[in-house]
């Protein structure tokens, strides 16, 4: 089997996720070739062929040109699968390529079992095993699902070029407002999910965080509801954290959230649903209504 792995560049730098793609290809036992719209100054540390188009010319977000560059490489390499990260770059580009190649697309692969790809459904409550019915497939792999080894090596670079012009004009990047909160350095994080029910209850989470000497945070729905500011969001579109203790209160455990907190040393989840996916990664699952449990826990910690 032969795979073409598609790396990503962001703000002029290679994203580490390309090493996860290499780990995925190794799990498949596949020979792999890399593709990157990037710069010779920051190349993946791996051996083998790297098809490189100049990011200065094609930009980091220019899906039509990137698609054409990829199609040229597919024609040369004839891979059985083209593999992206399941990221904003991957889920934008993968369907474009899949359609052009008349290939099946399989999104968000977390495992490979007997030649079938395992993908989560319904907020990770279910798993589906799927197979492509086409000769070539396009795959996106869930960020964090395949652990990379220590990168080493030097690629053999093959330069790419295309005349394709995109119909989108990239204006620029915007960074979310930065507050005084750096969750990446917090040792203790108490995080609120949709289960807190209403904005007033954020106070309970903040008080517990204060009693523990940590920071409070939130999952995406709480931030979208504007109950907690964006700079406290944990997850793939927020901050990635690695505290000694992560207390997830009323968080079901959507994959995007898990991606941001999976490096926590010790995870406690408080949830009324014994089957919530957060239970998968929790060291302790407290089956309780957080509105009852959190105030009691806070008082007991204060009394220590």
């Amino acid at each position: 089997m032969k795979t073409l792995l598609v790396g990503e560049y962001r703000k002029g730098q290679l994203r580490d996720s390309c090493y996860e793609l290499i780990a995925f290809a190794e799990k498949l036992g596949a020979d792999s070739t890399l593709f990157l719209v990037g710069s010779p100054t920051d190349l993946p540390r791996t051996d083998g062929t790297l098809y490189l188009a100049d990011v200065a010319k094609y930009g980091e977000f220019n899906p039509e040109a990137h698609k054409q560059l990829l199609l040229d490489v597919v024609a040369r390499e004839q891979p059985d699968a083209v593999v992206f990260s399941h990221s904003s770059y991957g889920w934008d580009l993968a369907p474009r390529l899949a359609l052009a190649l008349k290939a099946a697309q399989i999104s968000e692969v977390v495992d490979v079992v007997d030649g079938s790809f395992v993908v989560p459904s319904c907020n990770s409550k279910l798993r589906r095993e799927v197979k492509a019915k086409t000769a070539v497939s396009v795959i996106t792999v869930q960020v964090g699902a395949f652990n990379p080894g220590e990168p080493s090596g030097t690629p053999t670079v093959v330069a790419l070029d295309t005349d394709a012009v995109g119909s989108l004009e990239f204006v620029g990047y915007e960074t979310a407002e930065k507050g005084g909160v750096d969750l990446t350095k917090a040792e203790i994080i108490v995080s609120a999910g949709r289960g807190i029910g209403k904005k007033d209850n954020v106070e309970l989470i903040a008080r517990l965080a204060e009693a523990l000497g940590g920071e409070y945070a939130a999952s995406r729905p709480v931030v979208d509801a504007e109950w907690v500011e964006h700079n406290r969001q944990v997850g793939s579109t927020g901050q990635s954290v690695s505290p000694k203790l992560y207390l997830a209160c009323g968080i079901s455990g959507a994959v995007q959230h898990l991606a941001g907190m999976k490096r926590s040393e010790y995870v406690v989840a408080i949830n009324t649903d014994r089957d919530a996916p957060i239970g998968e990664v929790a060291d302790v699952l407290v089956v309780a209504d957080l509105l009852q449990f959190v105030p009691v826990l806070t008082e007991k910690i204060k009394a220590l």
Binding site: D92, P120, C122, L126, R127, F170, V171, Q239, V286, A288
Partner: protein
């Protein structure tokens, strides 16, 4: 301007799911159904665009069994002008390529200037249909938008990337946009608008008229993930659980 919004009806994700008899998807009985959360933002953005430009029409399309008419009616009550129900009792078994092909077949009959979809569904979560649809129609698309503004045939949109970063892009219409959570604040339909929506056109089309392709992805099995084990589950009295947890934190961590 003609605007199309594609929506899906999904179960409430807090539901207790059961696997269907064939072991290929969840059992659809005894579930509370709602509009896919991402699509609600798509409907709201469509309505706002319609309100902004003069002489616009907003069409809402959904594929599925008869019950999906409920979400179409909700979208009409939010401000859509007419609905299209592609009747398909087996929509759950179709892959993203088939679903996008069905919509493309319909959309080709009307020339839409702007199309909105959710960036993914909450149940399948493949994030494919919107971008597929644009490619099939030969339209430019911008995925995962969290900001949208329209002026004189040009859309400026922000795509949400990872880690709090956004990419701002401009594109001329006709174009398709897939909507991310937080794009706007979806309105609640008012009672008068719910009443008005009942009188709006809701066309039903049989899926067989629009489906002209074969599936490309096959689902062999659906199951509950195995518990990885090791995790301790506490249940019972709140005070006792709090004591137990404090003891565990003292024993297993250095934070207390």
């Amino acid at each position: 301007m003609k605007i199309l919004v594609c929506i899906k009806q999904v179960p409430d994700m807090e539901s207790k799911f059961r696997i269907n008899g064939a072991g290929t998807w969840y059992d659809e009985s005894d579930l509370a159904w709602r509009i896919n959360e991402y699509d609600e933002y798509a409907v709201e953005q469509g309505v706002r665009l319609k309100e902004q430009v003069a002489d616009a029409e907003l069409v809402v399309l959904s594929i599925g069994p008869d019950r999906v008419k409920e979400v179409i009616k909700k979208a009409l009550a939010m401000g859509g002008d007419r609905g299209v129900h592609v009747k398909d009792d087996a929509a759950f078994a179709k892959d993203s390529f088939e679903i996008a092909s069905i919509v493309a077949e319909y959309a080709q009959k009307e020339s839409f200037d702007v199309i909105f979809t959710g960036m993914q569904s909450q149940d399948r979560a493949s994030a494919q249909v919107g971008v597929y649809l644009a490619e099939m129609l030969g339209l430019p698309s911008v995925s995962t938008i969290v900001d949208f503004s329209y002026a004189d045939g040009t859309v400026t949109a922000s795509r949400e990337l990872e880690g709090g970063l956004k990419a701002v892009v401009k594109v001329a219409t006709p174009a398709l946009f897939t909507c991310q959570l937080g794009l706007n604040t979806p309105r609640y339909p008012t009672l008068p608008n719910i009443m008005k929506a009942k009188k709006k056109e809701l066309l039903t089309v049989e899926v067989a008229e629009l489906l002209k392709v074969d599936e490309r992805v096959e689902t062999s099995r659906v199951y509950f993930p195995e518990r990885k084990g090791g995790g301790l589950v506490l249940e019972g009295d709140v005070g006792e659980m709090a004591d137990r947890l404090i003891a565990l934190l003292k024993e297993k961590t250095t934070v207390l």
